[in-house]
Subunit: 196 residues, 2 copies
DNA sequence: CGGCTACTATGACCGCTGTCATAGTCGACC
DNA sequence: GGTCGACTATGACAGCGGTCATAGTAGCCG
């Protein structure tokens, strides 16, 4: 999944995303990113002349693309695609990670939003497009399942909102209960939208 | 609402919460908190011998209590209390603030979770109890409205999750659309739970 | 070989952070 | 008055932050 055989630049973006989703943006240092990526420190200013802001923005954008691609993966994994099934798969990815590796990490986009929405306008913008990049495939998948296009965007927003909030609570409580709860409660509502 | 006539200690906790919800925990400095509270710097180590961690934890706890009390306020403001009405009021508080004062601030509990869930265990714990302090009154209100106790906790979790996520997206996109969307989509589901 | 570009390697700078140490002020109480 | 406690006021410290400057290496091209 995470090929070590990638350019140092890409590795640094990836490492930045990993560290950001664990510690937040401000608490993540540039030197730390380089060390985590096994990349030379001098490459930072070479690949990211825009400084930390650029690196963070690219990490956020990467996370958005990753989340969007995952949606297609989830759809391929469902033999009988339903909205609730997709949502359950999205939440299960997080629940599985938490069960396996602990509750150390959250969503990088959320971290960037919380940490930079006020100060860094470009980062805030990167987070907005990341959410859009994520929401797009979800809404598209919903319409493919029979959800009217007018509601697909709304339901996609609801799904991502509930998921992000549940991730937050799960990390705080060190318990995946919030994730399983939102899946259980939201499932029927989502599937009901596929009817005429 | 925010009486300036309070002890310096309380003012500092309040200011800490305000700054944290704007900038995050790490980006908020102790000196900055003291200045924002018009409190002497020397009082920091006097009132908070536990250092920044203690101050942050108290700010998070304060936010949790505040959110819990707001629920009762919202209920008092509704002449005909319904689950969807409560949820709409909770979201409207944020939408109104964003419309009036801009999208600078988020939820302090979310900020603390994102910033300290990995590093600071005591702060993570404070965030967990803050969520519980918030969820309690919501679930209680739902049962009072006729929601079976078995589902009340689940729906309260769903409401807070969706709200937190919508806050996140609203800040990133500088648009309250996510807030209004989750209210619209989740309302019928919530009200349907009051039936037998 | 010379020259050029891509990348790496360090070291230094300044600013800010949380924390500690010390001295000072103020008011109440015996 | 004298003493004690609560609170305030500064200054210093050590550490880390991002960033700039400069020098170095490697490889390709002509």
């Amino acid at each position: 999944m995470t090929q070590a055989r990638r350019g140092p630049r890409e590795r640094m973006v990836f490492s930045a995303a990993q560290l950001i989703r664990r510690q937040g943006v401000t608490a993540t240092g540039m030197r730390e990113v380089a060390a985590h990526a096994d990349a030379p420190r001098g490459s930072l200013q070479h690949y990211f002349p825009g400084g930390k802001e650029q690196l963070v923005n690219e990490a956020v954008a990467w996370a958005g693309r990753y989340a969007g691609k995952r949606v297609d993966r989830f759809l391929a994994g469902l033999d009988r695609p339903t909205p609730s099934g997709l949502f359950a798969a999205m939440a299960a990815q997080w629940a599985d990670e938490y069960a396996a590796d602990g509750f150390a990490a959250g969503c990088p986009v959320a971290a960037a939003t919380v940490d930079c929405a006020t100060s860094g306008d470009s980062t805030r913008n990167a987070a907005a497009t990341a959410f859009a990049t994520w929401r797009g495939p979800v809404a598209e998948a919903l319409t493919d399942m029979g959800v009217p296009p007018s509601r697909a965007e709304s339901l996609a927003t609801l799904m991502i909102s509930a998921l992000e909030g549940a991730i937050l609570m799960a990390r705080a409580e060190r318990d995946v209960r919030s994730l399983t709860t939102v899946v259980k409660e939201l499932g029927p509502l989502l599937d009901a939208a596929t009817g005429p």
